[in-house]
């Protein structure tokens, strides 16, 4: 919607709603709030609700940054320690590289071949591309 044409109370309401919604583990909503109302809060000539909107935008921005830091930290920790954690890491893995179904490569053979390999030895995968190598 075009925020510039909305009346000011409506804008305030919208900003507040987005702020409140963001508390439900929704940093994206906060980010949207910041982008959308940035002009309204900081670049427009002042109007009565602007200070409130400014406050909401700042809160949303802080929330977004905090979430970003937390998420990045977690991702880094997870990715670097994935191998070390073993079973726990597998359990948490959404995409698990430890087991690859290679039927797309060898579908002429038994399509149900499951290749399991150590994550640290991913170079094994490269050998699969060589059709001359036979696997037992």
């Amino acid at each position: 919607m075009d925020i510039s044409k909305a009346p000011n109370p409506r804008k305030l309401q919208l900003c507040r709603t987005y702020l409140m919604n963001g508390f439900a583990f929704l940093p994206f909503v906060w980010a949207i709030n910041v982008c959308w109302f940035f002009d309204e809060a900081f670049r427009k000539p002042p109007y009565p609700e602007q200070s409130q909107i400014k406050r909401y935008v700042i809160y949303s921005a802080i929330g977004t940054v905090l979430w970003l830091i937390a998420l990045t930290t977690w991702i880094i920790i997870f990715q670097t320690n994935r191998a070390d954690w073993g079973a726990t890491a597998d359990y948490m893995s959404f995409i698990n590289l430890a087991a690859l179904n290679v039927h797309t490569i060898y579908k002429y053979l038994d399509p149900s071949i499951i290749l399991t390999y150590d994550i640290n030895e991913r170079h094994v995968l490269d050998k699969l591309k060589d059709p001359l190598i036979k696997y037992s």
Binding site: M1, D2, I3, K5, A6, P7, R10, L14, N21, A24, F25, L26, P27, F28, V29, I32, C35, W36, L71, W74, I75, F78, Q79, R82, A89, M92, S93, F94, I95, N96, L97, T104
Partner: protein, 546 residues
């Protein structure tokens, strides 16, 4: 360039001023296109064989007419525009120029989202092999085309498409019945459920396949967080309020997902047969007098409502702001693009509030685009400059149960009724059933009412079903691996879209957006792969460059 023309006065001078602002582009466009008589389009709305520019279609020219002219104009144009203000030729030219300019702009505005959608689908097909293989089938296509004989495949495809089409027809009729009985909650609930499923479940599957294709590991907590954010923001953007670009982006993404699902879960020949069948159905449903979609459109017009707060892609936002003498309970600006029911009802209400007489300004409602602005004018019909009632081109996507994605047949069958009701797309210019209404989607504020100003942005709307089937066509073409065919289909579809918009300007009634594009697309696809591709290969083999 800015598509809004905010004419602030009703005097011709204003129009001239507004026109001057975009002189250059207008001029350029005017040169390119053969001038059509603009007067016609104003006066004989839709009934005139003298078609106005296609460009005019979507953009109502800023016509300042006095109010008396309006009703006559709207009443099928039979009156020949009597009393139509008769602005001077220079004003006509200006209007035409603006119409041209904006009309072309709006066509371009549709190119970008349609191309984006197709791009997403083609990119996915080419990089994620999951969508290329069909090992699980929809419940609706019991014949799997596994036999190598062409005749068997053919009857399989025909049978499958018959089944699918009958489901679609059933869904459409169900939807019409629900709509006529005013079961709006059911419809809204249906739509919300569908988009919920699409945004969460199918996006989850898509994300999974995407990560798998690129070998990116991810843990459950991160994935859940991403999905949750994406989904909730999507629901807010589509059904509630959000920045326009975000909403458009989500709609495009959702359409691309649906198209991918169709590509994946329909067997080869069935996909082509379904495309052809749905174009024919679209044609029948929208144009024939007993067609369900036409009934839907007319009912919505009678009720002055937006036809569907469903998934329609809109390029601008419909907004209205009331002038000082609007009643306080008038609704706040509405956005067309978000097909939220609140919007449509707001528009309707606003229209009705401002209307002294029960004009179905809401016609615009269907077009949500239209004018809220009209309210202002309605109020003072007697001395207003009427905004022109350009028919609102709205391609509507009739969602029947939002059968979005194809899913796993088991879990799908439960929601399938939702899904299949595929989108009937109509390009619609809503014209009011009564003479008065105009689908104006543009309002020109009249100088006589300085306190009232309603402005509306011009925009164009296209139904999501159109996006989906266009993308299915291009995606299927690209799944054969040949770029020439893909690009040929893409160009064909865009040409078809232009033609459809042109026809819309000529006929000014609801038109289906699928048939022309799909026909061209199919012709080009098969012709290119059968004729052009071997030709090009021969040429490059012999090193002949043309």
């Amino acid at each position: 360039m800015d598509a809004h023309v905010s004419a602030s006065t009703s005097s011709p001078a204003t129009v001239a001023v507004a026109g001057e602002d975009e002189n250059l582009s207008g001029e350029a466009e005017r040169l390119e296109r053969p001038p059509r008589r603009q007067k016609q389009q104003r006066n004989n709305y839709g009934s005139n064989a003298d078609s106005p520019d296609g460009a005019v279609l979507t953009v109502p020219s800023v016509v300042i007419r006095d109010s008396t002219a309006r009703p006559s104009r709207l009443s099928g144009g039979g009156v020949g525009g009597g009393g139509d203000g008769a602005p001077g030729p220079s004003q006509q030219e200006i209007e035409e120029e603006q119409g041209l300019k904006y009309g072309a702009q709006h066509v371009i505005k549709l190119f970008v989202p349609v191309s984006l959608c197709m791009l997403v689908v083609v990119a996915t097909i080419n990089s994620i092999s999951f969508y290329n293989s069909t090992d699980v089938y929809l419940l609706y296509t019991p014949f799997h085309e596994l036999s190598p004989e062409p005749s068997v495949k053919l009857w399989n495809a025909l049978a499958n498409s018959l089944i699918l089409m009958s489901v679609v027809v059933l869904m459409t009729i169900l939807l019409i019945v629900l709509y006529k009985k005013r079961c709006y909650r059911v419809i809204h609930g249906w739509l919300i459920l569908s988009s919920f499923m699409l945004l969460f479940i199918f996006t989850y599957l898509y994300l999974e396949e995407l990560l798998r294709a690129y070998n990116i590991p991810m843990d459950y907590p991160t994935a859940v967080l991403i999905m949750w954010n994406f989904g909730v923001a999507g629901m807010m953007a589509i059904h509630w309020q959000a920045p326009l670009r975000l909403q458009q982006g989500y709609l495009i993404f959702v359409a691309a997902l649906m198209a991918l699902v169709f590509i994946k879960y329909l067997p080869e020949w069935t996909a082509w047969a379904v495309l052809a069948a749905i174009s024919i159905w679209d044609l029948i449903a929208v144009l024939s007098p007993r067609g369900p979609l036409r009934i839907l459109v007319e009912t919505a017009q009678e009720r002055n409502e937006q036809i569907f707060p469903a998934l329609i892609y809109s390029s601008t936002v419909l907004y209205t702001y009331m002038g000082t003498h609007y009643t306080p309970e008038q609704p706040l600006p509405t956005t067309t693009s978000s097909p939220s029911s609140s919007n449509s009802t707001t528009t309707t209400r606003a229209t009705q509030n401002s209307l002294a007489s029960p004009d179905p300004g809401a016609g615009a409602s269907s077009s949500s685009r239209s004018g809220n602005s009209r309210h202002g004018q309605r109020q003072q019909e007697n001395n207003q400059a009427a905004a022109e009632g350009m028919p609102l081109v709205s391609f509507k996507n009739n969602l029947h149960g939002n059968a979005e994605a194809a899913g796993f047949t088991q879990e799908w069958s439960a929601n399938l009724s939702d899904r299949v009701a595929r989108r009937q797309i109509e390009v619609q210019t809503t014209q009011s059933g009564n003479g008065r209404r105009s689908n104006e989607y543009r309002t020109v504020t009249t100088p006589n009412q300085p306190q009232m100003e309603a402005q509306e942005e011009r925009g164009i709307k296209l139904g999501l079903g159109d996006f989906i089937f266009y993308s299915v066509l291009v995606g299927k073409a690209s799944s054969y691996g040949d770029w020439t065919t893909t690009i040929a289909c893409f160009v064909a579809i865009l040409i078809g879209l232009c033609l459809t918009l042109l026809l819309l300007a000529i006929w000014r009634k609801a038109l289906p957006a699928l048939p022309i594009s799909i026909t061209f697309g199919l012709i080009f696809c098969f012709a290119t792969s059968a004729v052009v591709k071997p030709f090009m290969e021969k040429l490059s083999a012999k090193q002949v460059f043309i």
